[in-house]
Amino acid sequence: MGRFISVVRRDLRLALRQGSDSVMVVMFFLLTVVLFPFGIGPEGNILARVASGVIFVAALLASMLSLERLFQTDYEDGSLELLTLSPVPLEIVVLGKITAHWLTTGLPLIIASPLLAVLMNMSSDGFSMLMLALLLGTPALSLIGAIGAALVLGSRRGGVLISLLVLPLFVPVLIFGVGLVEAAIGGFAVKSQILILSGILFACLAFCPFAAAAAVRQSVE
């Protein structure tokens, strides 16, 4: 556990010192969503109708942006080799890096989301559920994305390749995340969507660190 925390702390420190990354992700998120009213026009009802979908898709794209750097810098400077060779199981190290990634990208997105919901004229009944949906959804995105990030190590133009590999896998999170918000706005029961999103998150938590660690081992070979 202590070693897990030291990996998280190191990655957080790296992210904070290098700065730009998490600010960039949040700015991208804000700007993409803000573009929609310009595109579809300022008609309140239409915006409210698409709000949850737009916010979710933007969050998904924003968290894709930073995935490439999850393992890339460690791969280039030899740290990934040493992490693979350290006595700590690689799965724990990978999970630590994913946690740090979520704290620096997913969490700021969740905090920024109510502001965007207001901008998109979303009904206020949906705000809390939007945040809950993102709270359950974004860690799953980081977990699934880590597999993609580890698989493309060593290839050129990895960033684009990650999107192709990972975006299709994000679809279930998108469907049930948006479903949860829509149900809350429509006044329906939300329990089943919450349970399914939690289920997806736990399944990812159990599976993704192993898959990503296997891909990392392959890449340093």
Binding site: D77, L82, L85, P87, E221
Partner: protein
């Protein structure tokens, strides 16, 4: 008294046979020096010993137990220095080394020791300097300080003298002697002659001869 041995090792990289039928044997206090021309497989052999690269065939054993049986234990007893120094540009030397020390089982001891280790390579004054301001030689010295700070039995050093000045190389020779005197073992690859007593020399090129035919036959066997 521990022994680390490899038998009949074969390394195939990208469908090309690098070396085959390679045996090595090293006991506590021993030093195995790998020589050979570029591309002979010195680095591949070191990576294989570290467990980064799986041998295409053959076994490595520690005290007659196959290493593959417990990789966690194997990783605990080795230190590897590769071509890259793994010094993060935005972290200070102290933060860099403390992190690596913290991942080992003797974390507390190692974190207490690393100041001494830095002084040994006369970079103690650089402790608060971010990695990006270090020269190549200083980075290499910080990386070598990492392996001294926490104890482990086997040192796998891939061209450790790269970017080091004469003085530091002499220091490194002395440190390797100390490590061996306390029962440690060292495997290193080098192109420049290091002045080390009783070193056993393994010419990796000798195992990559007759490449053409053998490569084909090994691949045909499905190894």
């Amino acid at each position: 008294m521990a022994t680390f041995a490899g038998q009949d090792l074969v390394c195939i990289r990208g469908e090309r046979l690098v070396f085959s039928h390679l045996d090595f044997n090293i006991a506590s206090g021993g030093c195995l020096t790998l020589i050979g021309r570029n591309g002979a497989g010195k680095s591949s052999l070191l990576r294989m010993m570290a467990g980064l690269l799986r041998p295409s065939s053959g076994v490595m054993s520690w005290d007659a137990t196959p290493v593959q049986d417990d990789m966690d234990e194997h990783r605990e007893r080795l230190h590897y220095v590769g071509h890259h120094d793994a010094i993060k540009p935005v972290l200070t030397v102290e933060e860099n080394l403390k992190f690596w020390a913290g991942l080992r089982s003797d974390a507390q001891e190692a974190q207490a020791n690393f100041k001494e280790a830095l002084d040994l390579f006369s970079i103690g004054h650089l402790m608060d300097v971010p990695g990006r301001f270090l020269s190549a030689g200083q980075k290499r010295r910080a990386n070598l300080a990492r392996i001294i700070a926490s104890k482990s039995q086997v040192w796998l050093l891939d061209e450790p003298t790269t970017a080091l000045d004469k003085e530091t190389i002499a220091k490194l020779e002395e440190i390797i002697e100390n490590h061996r005197a306390t029962g440690g073992m060292v495997v290193l690859s080098t192109h420049s002659d290091l002045n080390i007593k009783n070193q056993e020399i393994l010419d990796v090129s000798a195992f990559s001869a007759a490449r053409g035919q053998e490569s084909a036959s090994l691949l045909a066997e499905g190894i």
